[in-house]
């Protein structure tokens, strides 16, 4: 391993590997403190390197491959910075957990995210990518409910398919270019392999119509797992899109579709955590749109929004997690009247709710407005308008509907509430303060942006336009008035139609309905011919195989007498063990077969692409 660097760097994934090992092996009294400590160390490294201009590279030569484990530049630093910060808050929020395997999974998950953010080549990226996919599936399964097992399985299936598209793209790209370098792509000359890689990234960014895994699975994750997942999967995808695909026009349009799609579904939704999940789709839409429009200002806006979003969305999921932890449900129709009993949860939740809604003095205001202004100033008027509509819907659902029906709406609640551990409050307080501080002092965040407003830094990509037009001042008097007016009159709309907006217990069909349909069609397609071949094979076996086997058995028994018993016994034991393993694999669950078959088929297809 060689470090080609003048400045200091230590890979933060190492801290999370230590954390994972500690959570698995050490007693709870130690590892519950070890995990936040590791996150703090990771954050200190990020603070140290964000002082420099980046430029560090950490090369690992392995199996004849040149892997760059640490490309450190302004784009990777801003994402790693907020990842580390949120890791601290998430670890504090999870300190009361008695299930150590949840800690192991979340540590592995965050380590994977850091691997991705610093990856300079596609192989390192792919390893981090798959690590995140597996670990996050565990964060769903560890809730240990029947619904979460099923949802986790659907989640894993979608991410496996996305990962395979990414892998196919990486292999094809290697065949065409002879390297694994993870670099910006010319948006006017996208090749088939670029589209495949983009498809893999788009699955994790929850780009409509590939988004349905997110609102399907996140509400089924563990209370603390959902807090971690809300921060890392989609934002890692935003990072890789910004790295490779800035300026790809279609992302601008798809991003705004995401903004609106998420908001529309959240308006109809009843489960608090599913409302928040749909708002991840919506908020990531702002980032994807900013990347697709591809001016320096909108890419800056996307990064700033990712930073702000991780803070307030983590806090929102912490608040909804408190409801689930205390009341045992996150369904709004079963909650209500909780302001008397959980006033601090309400207050801290509201800090995040006004942040996501873009209320001045909170961090959503300084990031969302940058993307919208950038879109409007580069004459993407319709896209900017779509984002304004989504901003209204955001306040309507997350800012008013969710808290109103959870904390008010009914007389003071008498329902049984589990006590909320103090560490959960501490993490939420930290999140709320950070939302406010970054909102009040935007330069804390703006100084980390990939295209700085002051001073010259070489652009990480040649495909971003309007490089010198990045100056942005959110706190102009008109902007503040506009934001408050928009929120105030959205509130009036809610007040007039609060009876219409009352949530109902129902599941709203989204694109997962099509996924399930495709899955069923696929299994039908596979099982019918398979059954036919099986039928023929049984016939052949009965007529030819059995007599042959009998003949063979006679010969074998003759040989057995002469053979050394020990050898045969050993072989028999091995066969028996293999049989047991195979029996364990054959669970008889159709879903498992479909998944294995799909994974195998796509793996073979990927190999064929690679070879051909």
């Amino acid at each position: 391993m060689t470090a080609e660097t003048a400045s200091f760097f230590f890979h933060p994934a190492a801290f999370f590997a230590v954390g994972a090992a500690g959570a698995a092996l050490l007693p709870r009294g130690i590892h519950r403190w070890l995990l936040p400590a590791m996150a703090v160390l990771a954050f200190l490294v990020m603070v140290a390197i964000s002082q420099g201009e980046g430029g560090a590279n950490l090369h690992l030569y392995w199996l004849g491959l040149d892997l760059n484990l640490a490309r450190v530049d302004r784009l990777s630093i801003i994402f790693a910075h907020i990842f580390a910060l949120q890791a601290i808050l998430g670890c504090i929020y999870a300190m009361h957990l008695k299930d150590r395997w949840q800690h192991v999974a979340s540590m592995g998950y965050m380590g994977g995210a850091f691997l991705c953010v610093f990856a300079g080549d596609y192989l390192t990226l792919f390893i981090g990518w798959e690590l995140m996919s597996v670990a996050s599936t565990l964060l769903i399964w560890f809730r240990r409910r029947r619904e979460s097992t099923a949802a986790g399985f659907r989640y894993f299936l979608v991410h496996t398919l996305g990962g395979l598209a990414l892998l196919a793209g990486i292999m094809l790209r290697y065949q065409a270019t002879g390297n694994f370098d993870f670099n910006p792509v010319d948006p006017t000359a996208l090749q088939l392999y670029d589209w495949l890689i983009l498809l893999g990234f788009a699955v994790n960014a929850a780009v409509v119509p590939l988004h349905a895994w997110l609102p399907d699975a996140y509400p089924e994750a563990t209370v603390t797992g959902a807090v971690f997942m809300s921060a890392f999967t989609t934002k890692t995808a935003v990072y890789v899109l910004a790295r490779a695909f800035a300026g790809v026009e279609i992302l601008g349009i798809l991003g705004v579709v995401m903004c609106l799609w998420g908001v529309f579904y959240a308006t109809m939704e009843n489960n608090a955590r599913r409302i928040l999940s749909y708002h991840i789709v919506s908020q990531v839409g702002y980032m994807v749109a900013g990347i697709g429009i591809g001016t320096a200002m909108t890419v800056n806006g996307a990064c700033a929004h990712a930073y702000a979003h991780i803070l307030y969305k983590g806090l929102l999921f912490m608040g909804a997690g408190c409801l689930l932890h205390a009341a045992g449900t996150a369904n709004l129709n079963q909650l209500g009247g909780l302001a008397r009993r959980l006033p601090l949860v309400f207050l801290l939740y509201m800090a995040a709710a006004v942040s996501i809604s873009g209320m001045p003095f909170f961090n959503g205001f300084i990031s969302k407005t940058m993307t919208i202004a950038g879109a409007a100033e580069s004459h993407h008027t319709w896209l900017a308008l779509g984002m304004e509509i989504a901003a209204v819907g955001t306040f309507l659902s997350v800012g008013i509907k969710l808290p109103y029906f959870a904390f008010f709406a009914k007389p003071d609640s008498e329902m049984h509430l589990e006590p909320i551990p103090v560490n959960m409050y501490v993490a939420m307080l930290g999140g709320a303060l950070l939302c406010l501080v970054t909102g009040l002092f935007p330069n804390l965040l703006y100084s980390l942006l990939p295209f700085p407003m002051h001073g010259h830094v070489e652009a990480y990509t040649p495909f971003v336009t309007a490089l010198h037009h990045v100056e942005f001042h959110p706190y102009e008097l008109f902007n503040i008035l506009q934001a408050f007016t928009l929120l105030g009159f959205t509130g009036l709309g809610f007040y007039l139609l609060r009876n219409v907006l009352t949530p109902h217990a129902q599941r709203n069909m989204d694109f997962e309905w099509f996924y399930v349909l495709i899955g069923k069609a696929f299994s039908l397609l596979v099982s019918r011919p398979a059954a036919w071949i099986d039928g023929i094979w049984s016939e052949v076996y009965r007529t030819l195989g059995l007599p042959g086997l009998k003949l063979g058995a006679k010969g074998a028994s003759a040989f057995d007498v002469a053979a050394i018993d020990g050898v045969v016994d050993g072989a028999a034991k091995a066969v028996g063990a293999t049989g047991r393993l195979a029996a364990r694999l054959q669970t008889g669950d159709l879903q498992h077969y479909a998944a294995l078959a799909t994974a195998l088929a796509l793996g073979i297809a990927a190999c064929l692409w690679w070879l051909g």
Binding site: R146, E147, A150, A151, D216, V263, F264, T267, M268, A339, R340, R341, L342, P343, L344, F346, L347, I372, A373, A376, E377, T381, A384, L385, E388, I389, V392, G393, L396, F407, F408, D412, E476, L477, F478, L481, Q482, F484, T485, L486, L487, G488, F489, T490, G491, L492, G493, F494, Y495, L497, V500, L501, H504, Q506, R507, N508, M509, D510, E512, V516
Partner: protein, 90 residues
């Protein structure tokens, strides 16, 4: 414990405010009036859509979008795509 006391007094403060709903409602409408008046005074330096330099544009926009979204989505779309909650778990 000081922590519980703090939570409790904050909680009862919220409970008291719920009895003063009429007062909060009046304050809300006054605030909306002030914002509306403000839009006659302040103009955007760089209007994004043209119409947004008109006074009251963002008030109409916010109210209009909220009302249309609520009516179309909850009254129509939700009734078309709604299924049982355990639709995928049966």
């Amino acid at each position: 414990m000081a922590w519980d006391e703090m939570q409790n007094s904050l909680g009862s403060w919220f409970a008291r405010q719920r009895t003063k709903a009429a007062l909060w409602k009046r304050a809300f409408f006054v605030a909306l009036g002030v914002l509306m008046a403000g839009s006659f005074v302040l103009k955007p330096a760089h209007p994004h859509f043209g119409y947004d330099s008109l006074p009251g544009f963002w008030a109409v926009f916010g109210l209009g979008v909220a009302v249309i979204m609520a009516l179309v989505l909850k009254q129509f779309v939700a009734k078309c795509i709604g299924r049982r909650e355990d639709y995928y778990d049966r």
